[in-house]
């Protein structure tokens, strides 16, 4: 099986979907000749032409709104927001329009649209090229929110997103675009939305994470297994909305201890919902306080390197939190 990077897997998914279905098109800023600022769409313009790989005007709201209209009129848009930090001008179109279209039309007009956006810090991007925005959208019924952490899942989940009849926000951990590599099957396969991945087997404590943090959580789990004999059960959530309660609770029933890791600001972040699910539906299995490891509650990720590193969770910080919780 060929090994490839996360971003190559994403590109392969788009390439295959474009080839499979003429209704699929890509629009966004610099997605055409430039192949995307991260090169996610590299080569697709040459292969599929300007009528299917469309450089949008520099206006994020319109990228999403055009996608909504096109989706309602029978196409399958893949809309790229260059950085998740720039998605906010489109917030109304996503939350008020795409998410509510099916409900407000009595189940008649649906929006089969995928919105891709690189997210997350650790790449020297400062306040406005580092944000984690998932919690804004996981609060919104009608949307699906997906975050892959491996090349295998990136390809299979993106294909599922493109084929899903609902609006899917697909956030990509950009720090892992080239640093995360893994085996990716050639040809067509999908990974279902709404199902978490059991990333590592263990019985001492459960670790819930997604995106770059899922990748780091596995690294940290290997380290504490090696150095301390602590065995972590790592759940890579993969789809944040709808949430896979079954997998979340199954792990907790086994371990009774939970560490939730995310690189968004800690307070009111996605991890709070996981904690609520565990305490509400897994209370009788609980052996320790539920712990969250998130980013500090400061407005955004600073540019200066030491400040950025102080902000970001990393394998070292995760390993420390694992040891603390295991010792409880």
């Amino acid at each position: 099986m060929p090994e490839m990077t996360l971003i190559d897997a994403l590109r392969e998914a788009m390439d295959e979907e474009l080839a499979r279905d003429p209704r699929v098109f890509i629009t966004g800023e610099d997605v055409g000749k430039r192949g995307g600022v991260f090169r996610a769409t590299m080569g697709l313009y040459e292969k599929y032409g300007e009528k299917r790989i469309i450089d949008s005007p520099l206006a994020e709201l319109s990228i999403v709104a055009i996608g909504i209209g096109a989706a309602c009129a029978g196409l399958l848009p893949i809309c790229e927001i260059q950085f998740a930090d720039f998605i906010h001008p489109a917030f109304n179109q996503i939350v008020n329009e795409a998410a509510k279209m099916y409900y407000r039309s009595g189940g008649t007009w649906n929006v089969p649209m995928t919105i891709r956006a690189p997210y997350g810090g650790g790449i020297g991007g400062g306040l406005y090229h580092s944000q984690s925005v998932e919690a804004f959208f996981t609060h919104v019924p009608g949307l699906k929110v997906v975050i892959p952490s491996t090349p295998h899942d990136a390809k299979g989940l993106l294909k599922s997103a493109v084929r899903d009849p609902n609006p899917v926000l697909f956030f990509e951990p950009k720090k892992g675009y080239r640093s995360i590599k893994g085996e990716v099957p050639a040809g067509d396969y999908t990974v279902p939305l709404g199902k978490a991945r059991h990333a590592r087997e263990g019985s001492d404590l459960s670790v819930y994470a997604y995106g770059m943090m899922a990748h780091y959580a596995v690294q940290a789990a290997e380290q504490v297994a090696r150095e301390d004999g602590i065995q972590c059960d790592v759940i890579d959530l993969r789809t944040l909305l709808p949430v896979d309660k079954e997998s979340i609770l199954a792990s907790f029933k086994k371990t009774g201890k939970a560490l939730i890791v995310y690189e968004d600001n800690l307070t009111m972040g996605y991890g709070a919902e996981i904690a609520a699910i565990l305490s509400g539906e897994g209370f009788e299995y609980m052996d320790a306080p539920i712990r969250r490891l998130g980013a500090p509650d400061v407005p955004a990720v600073p540019f200066s390197h030491p400040l950025q590193e102080a902000f970001m969770p990393n394998p070292h910080k995760i390993a420390t939190a694992m040891r603390d919780l295991a010792a409880y």
């Binding site: 003429p22 209704r23 098109f25 009528k51 299917r52 005007p57 206006a59 709201l61 319109s62 709104a65 055009i66 996608g67 909504i68 209209g69 096109a70 989706a71 309602c72 009129a73 029978g74 196409l75 001008p89 109304n92 179109q93 008020n96 329009e97 509510k100 279209m101 099916y102 409900y103 407000r104 039309s105 009595g106 189940g107 008649t108 007009w109 649906n110 089969p112 019924p141 009608g142 699906k144 009849p165 609902n166 709808p242």
Partner: protein, 345 residues
């Protein structure tokens, strides 16, 4: 201003049959009587909310009759009662929405009244924040162009949508969403028509405080689309302008921005009181030049409409509105379980 050059219009309205001319009149009248009834129901305390289209009927019915009704995409706004009724929404559909009753077709009675939508009529569902529908309508027009260029749609197949039409008020053109939608329409030469129903007030705020240009249509030049200002209370003049825009869209020549000068004969909504911001004389003057009266006189002058025929129409409209009201009053409310339906497709 080149965008406002008085177009040497052909008058396709001169080709309309008497039957069609009367059908247009009928739709204006039926919409007006339905609208009036909603005000009565509100004053009686039977419904909670109404937002009116009275005064805009000539523009809206003229627009509907100029497109391929029920086939071309329409993305309306809340004042478009006459437009959607001319596309096939019935007084009964509207009454069900006023009462929030089961069987309401736009949204299963989830939305407030006048938030139209019907996939069967190719009317996209719309929300309350203004101008959000404009870039979506441009997206539908984009899909039509895409489907033609990628061999998914025969450009001459009249059974398929060949344009997207959207409407909004002049105040809503202050929104960035309007700009972004118009910009796409221009950049991609989309089969797109945007009608700005300019009634001079956004609730209470006059046009001078929305824009520094005298005509909304002047803005067309900034998007590279055709712009035209027309008397939106003259149904045949409006129809002629629309036909030119429709021809441009069908022929792949691009988008048109039509500014229809209208007057809102009522307050903004049943929750508004316009006495604080509109002089009564202004409103009374607009009522004297009401679009329906004007068209009525035109048809009578041409011997197409008679007093007897008019009485027939009035009676028919009253019967339909009565029946619709009765039906809606007697209809059940939606089942509570429907709260949980249609979250995901």
């Amino acid at each position: 201003m080149s965008a406002l050059t008085k177009t040497q219009l052909s008058r396709p309205s001169e080709q309309l049959s008497n039957e069609t001319l009367l059908d247009m009149y009928w739709h204006m009248l039926l919409s007006r009587r339905t609208d009036e009834r909603a005000w009565v129901l509100h004053r009686q305390g039977k419904i909670a909310f109404h937002i009116s289209g009275m005064g805009h009927e000539a523009t809206q019915v003229g627009a509907a009759f100029a497109i391929n009704r029920g086939v071309d995409y329409v993305v309306p706004y809340y004042r478009d009662l006459a437009l959607v009724m001319a596309l096939g929404i019935t007084p009964r559909d509207f009454m069900l929405s006023l009462f929030g009753k089961a069987g309401e077709i736009s949204s299963k009675a989830r939305q407030m009244p006048s938030h139209w939508g019907s996939k069967a009529h190719h009317i996209l569902s719309t929300s309350s924040p203004v101008a959000t529908q404009v870039p979506q309508a441009a997206g539908m027009a984009f899909a039509i162009k895409y489907q033609r260029e990628n061999g998914l749609l025969d450009p001459n197949d009249a059974a398929q949508p060949r344009l997207a039409l959207t409407c909004l008020g002049e105040g809503s053109t202050s929104q960035g969403e309007w700009h972004e939608g118009m910009n796409w329409a221009g950049v991609h030469t989309l089969p797109f028509i945007c009608i700005v129903q300019n009634n001079n007030y956004a609730i209470s705020v006059p046009i001078e405080q929305q824009m520094a240009v005298s005509h909304v249509a002047e803005r067309a030049i900034a998007y590279g689309v055709q712009g035209v200002t027309v008397d939106g209370t003259d149904i045949l003049a409006f129809y002629d302008v629309m036909r030119a825009a429709v021809a441009r869209a069908y022929n792949g020549e691009g988008a048109t921005l039509i500014e229809a000068k209208c007057y809102r004969l009522t307050p903004h909504s049943s929750d508004d009181d316009d006495r604080s911001y509109r002089p009564r004389e202004e409103v009374e003057e607009a009522k004297r030049t009401d679009a329906i009266l004007r068209y009525e006189q035109h048809l009578m002058g041409r011997g197409i409409l008679s007093d007897a025929l008019k009485q027939d129409y009035e009676q028919r409209a009253r019967q339909m509105v009565d029946e619709a009201q009765r039906y809606a009053e007697n209809a059940p409310y939606p089942e509570e379980s429907s709260l949980y339906e249609d979250i995901y497709a």
